[in-house]
Amino acid sequence: MNVTAANEIAHDPHLRVMAARVIAQQRWPYVSSILFSLKLVKVRHEELSTIAVDSGWRLYYSPQFVLDQTPEALATVLLHESMHCLHDHAGRFAVIQQPDEHVTWNIAGDAGINAILDEAKMPWPSVEPIRIRDLRHWNITEDMSTEGMFYRLLEVMDKRPFNPDCGSITDRRRRTYELAPSHDVSPGLRIDQQAVVRDRTAHDIVQRSHTQGDVPAGLLRWAQEILQPTVSWREELAGRMRRDLAMVAGRRDYVYTRPSRRQSVMTRLGSTVVLPAMRQPAPPRVACVIDTSGSISDSELRDFASELVGITRASGVSSGVTVIPCDASPGPVQRIRSRSEIERLELPGGGGTDMGAGIQRAQELKPLPHILVIFTDGHTPWPEVQPREFSSVIVVLSDTTTRGDVPSWARVIDLNESNQTF
């Protein structure tokens, strides 16, 4: 190839972006589905000075910008944009319903993405990326979710030191340079179609992780969550409670075991139809034993109690929750009816742990609770015999390693396994 031809190549921005895509693909072959789903669209530098992706997965680039970068650095940018697609940042931003805060959302999304790219030691272009360490000043840490970072930044960041714009892939706000969603040559990818590609990518990532150990941990967790979604402990506790409350209460229901109060009317009218009676038992009672031995922080304990009260109220139980703080022996028995009372809750404790003592205290309650919820780290002796007074015992564990010690008559909810925030 002669010199002129080589120069021509060096000046073709489209070729440069495609070269970057090839390099990106060689780095992370398991995200190929998303990488190659991006449609490349050239825009004027005055309209867009870098690279951006829209909510229809079309990648817009400034020809000047891409020619100023090495293909290797551009490849990192492409992977960065692909991860916005992968994580559905536009859809998640819509859920938050704070459309004016799109820049803060972009910052939070970028910081999380760049942490994964930095971990893989990828080269960056001339524009310096936003990193979590730049946000450390505002107590942003690596284990936070994009949503977590977003809310933290909203609270504490008085002025924005950054102004990133990755395009409408982060917020579904249409930019001036974007093509129409149903453009003839380059139509945007429909949102339900994007979900199909995302599913495929998750599948590819998990497959890769079976044969090779080179998938970044953050990506693998994302893929596993898509293929085997976990339910947060709040949801799981709420579901468990709803079912147990329903079982205890029988709720209002119809029975044929007693005659209907209107049966006499039917007879008088000469009808032969048999009506059922309605039955509504007294509302179920809920008690909880909270481990105050010190290994679980006070704010976590209150957070848990608050959640429990919220769930019982939402399930239609207005009598509240009886709380028994317990270390080696039970503390003051209190009843809370609403979340506003959580702050007043006394949670004394410190030395030693024996949940058995707390359970025993609950057995002495009058009237007896139907459902007993225990929140503990699990480093405790358990009673040898099942407390048969309760129709259901739920144990919420803050430490997964103790799961095996919990007796089989209790239902276990794992606080950490089902509550990954990353």
Binding site: A19, R21, S33, V95, G148, D192, V196, R242, R251, T421
Partner: protein, 378 residues
């Protein structure tokens, strides 16, 4: 990176609304029981009325939460010492017409005995002593338990009989609706032969998938709230084959098919199955190698990549000079089809398989070299 996959709570877009709407039409047309999950006041009833009108079918609307079990199971009445279950009027009306639709709203705020009675209606299409006919479609709607004050999760046996669709009105649809244009999407009802053909094909696919992934045949979810939704069982896989057959016979998009599969077997199993099913639709790599000039390039770029990867994989298993040249031609076709970057991603692997003494065709080189140079791979 938040692990919430973003789909649990979702602010719906018009695209998603359209796909869900079409999925609902397919469920109704194919007589697979369907349940819509969403907050109240989302226009579910009027959409179902529109669909009933489009499909020219009789519709009965009931509110389960204000009904009693005998409204579904029939009123016990004693005649000549024998108890009869007298059917309610809606059931009589449905049994008198053919192809009726029964829509029951607020099923999960109904007492358990009403839910149990409803189970028999949706499963056997029988109310009291009255047979509604197998041509009746069963549609239900429910408020998510976390949104309804006294809602509960469905019992797993009832949940597993339905295809679950999330239902939410996007703001654009509401805006246009108030301006006088509620959106309706008509799915054509395919011919019986078309459905029969598609059904045979889809059954084979599900069977093939379950042979490869027997662990996904039955997965009972661990938590109570998940058990009230879609999860894989042989029955829900059977629903998958029926619904995908109807969807392909009426030429719906992958987006609609995804929503239907997800609604039957839940998110995890559906993602796995959809990936498997899509790869079956792609050209067979061996056939592509046998006739590299005439195979049809898929429309979606991520599928073109899958075809390329498949060709390279079968080439690696059995490399001859002729197959190697054929693979080069495939890459050339991908490149000249507007995707040189996809072709170049395989170029290195392809060069590595070069049989001794063979040289690439000049057309192939011409298609690949500029980009290989730009990416500094050669």
């Amino acid at each position: 990176m938040g692990l919430d996959a973003g789909e649990v709570k979702c602010v719906a877009t018009t695209d998603e609304y359209e796909s869900t709407y079409r999925a609902l039409e397919i469920c109704i047309a194919s007589r697979v029981p369907v349940i819509l999950w969403g907050p109240p006041g989302q226009g579910k009833t009027s959409v179902i009325r529109a669909i009933a009108k489009h499909q020219d079918r009789h519709l009965e609307v009931l509110l389960a939460s204000i009904r009693e079990p005998q409204d579904f199971a029939g009123l016990p009445s004693i005649h000549d010492g024998r108890a009869h279950l007298v059917p309610p009027d809606w059931a009589v009306r449905l049994s008198e017409v053919s192809n009726g639709i029964l829509f029951t709203d607020e099923v999960n705020t109904a007492p358990p005995s009403v839910q149990a009675a409803l189970l028999r209606v949706s499963l056997d299409k029988v109310a009291g002593d009255c047979d509604l006919g197998q041509d009746t479609s069963v549609v239900a709607a429910a408020n998510p338990p976390e949104q309804a004050a006294d809602g509960w999760d469905l019992a797993p046996p009832l949940a597993n009989r339905f295809c679950h669709l999330p239902w939410e009105l996007p703001t654009e649809v509401v805006r246009d609706g108030f301006a006088g244009r509620w959106r309706h999407y008509g799915v054509p009802v395919p011919s019986e032969e078309a459905i029969e053909d598609a059904l045979v094909r889809e059954r084979v696919r599900v069977a093939g998938f379950l042979t490869a992934r027997p662990d996904l045949a039955t997965v009972l979810p661990k938590t109570a709230s998940e058990q009230g939704r879609a999860f894989p069982t042989p029955r829900s896989w059977d629903m998958v084959s029926t619904l995908t057959a109807w969807a392909t016979a009426s030429r719906q998009t992958e987006g609609v098919i995804r929503i239907l599969i997800r609604g039957c077997v839940g998110p995890g199993a559906s993602a796995e199955y959809l990936t498997y099913r899509e790869s079956l639709d792609l050209p067979d790599p061996e056939k592509v190698l046998g006739d590299p000039r005439s195979f049809a390039l898929p429309l979606r770029t991520d599928q073109i990549y899958v075809v390329g990867a498949g060709v390279l994989a079968v080439l690696r298993n059995d490399t001859t000079a002729q197959r190697w040249h054929a693979a080069g031609l495939v890459l050339e076709r991908i490149a000249s089809g507007g995707h040189p970057d996809i072709a170049v991603s395989f170029a290195r692997d392809w060069i590595a398989e070069r049989p001794p003494g063979e040289m690439p065709d000049s057309a192939v080189l011409k298609a690949l070299v500029p980009l290989l140079k730009e990416a500094r791979l050669i």
